[in-house]
């Protein structure tokens, strides 16, 4: 039991606290026209990075997904990118 507990504690130590970048910096705004910042939240392939990895709060992740989808509609961002595009 003692060994099990230790292992559990160790695992907790490695977790890093994730902060929503849009909440931390008020000048960092979600906008579908600004493809450069949106690109930070997509993979190389153009997929949207999930909240569990990016650490965004629910509100901003919602805004972000609509923004990325809008940017895709107007060809500022790819629906599916080949790796050579980046």
């Amino acid at each position: 039991m003692a060994a099990y507990r230790q292992r559990r504690q160790k695992r907790r130590v490695f977790r890093r606290r994730k902060i929503c970048r849009f909440c931390a910096d008020s000048s960092f705004v979600v906008d579908y026209k600004n493809a450069r910042t949106l690109r930070l939240f997509t993979t190389e392939r153009g997929k949207i990075i999930p909240r569990r990895i990016s650490g965004n709060c629910a509100k901003h992740q919602r805004q972000l997904t609509t923004a990325i989808k809008r940017a895709r509609t107007i060809a500022l961002m790819p629906y599916a990118a080949t790796l050579s595009l980046y």
């Binding site: 000048s27 579908y32 026209k33 809008r70 895709r72 509609t73 107007i74 060809a75 500022l76 961002m77 790819p78 629906y79 990118a81 595009l85």
Partner: protein, 171 residues
């Protein structure tokens, strides 16, 4: 009235005159329907993230305007028929807008640009404009942040140069 934002991708192969005729047509449509053109921004030629009608580049134009749903319908109908526009997208920014207030805001902004005098004068203008104060106050704040950062960097440079001088002096 509602506030809309339309992005149009114009065929980059067109000459400037042909492009201008299309854009004039769109702005005329807005004014004909008693809409109010708030912002007209040409981004210029950009690379498209994917091919549209076999084109890899496109000329982006952004229009912000106040108007009703019928205006948007008419505008999109025209864009769909016109081969000069590769693609378009309309987004509703604000559901309730008072066109007269927006007009006043635009005029106030234009006045400020014309005057372009030091800060105290701009503040007085903002107080006079009253309601449109919040959107106008925000840009200076944003701009002030990076400038402070630059000054810090400059200071650091100055300090480092001083250190270097001191080091040279000691040697």
């Amino acid at each position: 009235m509602r506030m809309y934002e339309t992005t149009v991708i114009v065929n980059p192969a067109l000459s400037q005159e042909e492009r201008q005729s299309l854009l004039d047509k769109l702005t005329n449509l807005i004014s004909d329907a008693q809409g109010l053109l708030v912002k007209f921004d040409e981004w210029g030629e950009k690379r498209l993230a994917y091919e549209i009608k076999k084109e890899t580049r496109g000329y982006y134009v952004l229009m912000e305007f106040c108007g009703g749903g019928s205006l948007v319908k008419e505008l999109e109908r025209n864009l769909r028929l016109d081969d000069r526009a590769l693609k378009y997208m309309t987004v509703c920014i604000d559901k309730e807008v008072d066109p007269e207030r927006v007009k006043a805001e635009i005029e106030a902004a234009a006045k400020e640009e014309e005057e372009s005098k030091p800060e105290p004068v701009q503040e007085v203008a903002a107080v006079q404009a009253q309601e449109d104060a919040p959107p106008e106050e925000t840009p200076p704040e944003e701009t002030s942040e990076p400038t402070t950062g630059e000054t810090e960097v400059q200071e650091n440079h100055a300090q480092s140069s001083e250190k270097e001088e001191a080091a040279n002096g000691s040697v």
